[in-house]
């Protein structure tokens, strides 16, 4: 078993990086690996609850919304930490806006992931 860390700086609508991070984390969890995410910059917007985009295709990027994808990863054991400074900068009210399981942390958490993980993927 390996420990894979992700640094995610992409937001939910400006690039596909959140989806790539999800797909790689999904595949890693399915293989029994340990997975941590550190959401930085607009990455802090990815797990915000109650996202909804009507009429989305079932085969596309938004078959489920980004927050739902990450809630699924958390339910399956992934750790999701959002940078507190990035959260505050964006006017996100963490207790109200994040679903259960999303943690708010700081850069020492990223430093720990860098020290402890076997691999780190920056997206």
């Amino acid at each position: 078993m390996a420990y894979i860390g992700f640094l995610l700086t992409g937001g939910p609508f400006d690039s596909e990086r959140w989806r790539t991070a999800y797909e790689l984390g999904r595949a890693a969890l399915d293989r029994g690996h340990e997975v941590s995410y550190f959401h930085y910059l607009d990455g802090a917007l990815v797990p915000v609850a109650d996202q909804t985009l009507p009429g989305c295709s079932d085969s596309g990027l938004y078959d489920e919304m980004p927050t739902e994808k990450f809630q699924e990863l958390i339910a399956d054991g992934a750790e999701v930490i959002c940078c507190g400074l990035c959260v505050d900068a964006r006017g996100i009210d963490a207790p109200a806006d994040y679903p259960e399981g999303v943690e708010v942390g700081l850069l020492p958490d990223l430093a720990d992931i860098i020290g402890e993980a076997d691999r780190v993927v920056s997206l």
């Binding site: 894979i4 990086r17 790539t20 790689l24 595949a27 293989r31 690996h33 596309g60 691999r119 993927v121």
Partner: protein, 81 residues
């Protein structure tokens, strides 16, 4: 070493991979539009290829997310995404 390459970071990513005799390149996201001129084996993420309707040259393999994860557990990874 596995190199994940997207288009916005291809400038530095491909230069870095070019000098590594052990390089294995994975084109990802808009990176599947690239046709890198390198000696290393090159794959492209199948989902990113399909949704964009890109026709890959014969020397570029398709790769699944599962296979990317297997590869990056076996060897170190550099991400240019």
């Amino acid at each position: 070493m596995l190199y994940l390459i997207d288009k916005p970071m291809a400038e530095v990513g491909l230069r870095t991979a070019a000098e590594d005799p052990e390089a294995r390149i994975v084109l990802i996201q808009d990176g599947v539009y690239l046709a890198p001129d390198v000696d290393a084996p090159v794959s492209a993420v199948a989902r990113d290829v399909d949704v964009r309707g890109v026709t890959l040259p014969s020397d570029i393999d398709r790769i699944s997310y599962d296979a990317v994860v297997e590869s990056l557990v076996e060897q170190e990874v550099k991400s240019f995404v």
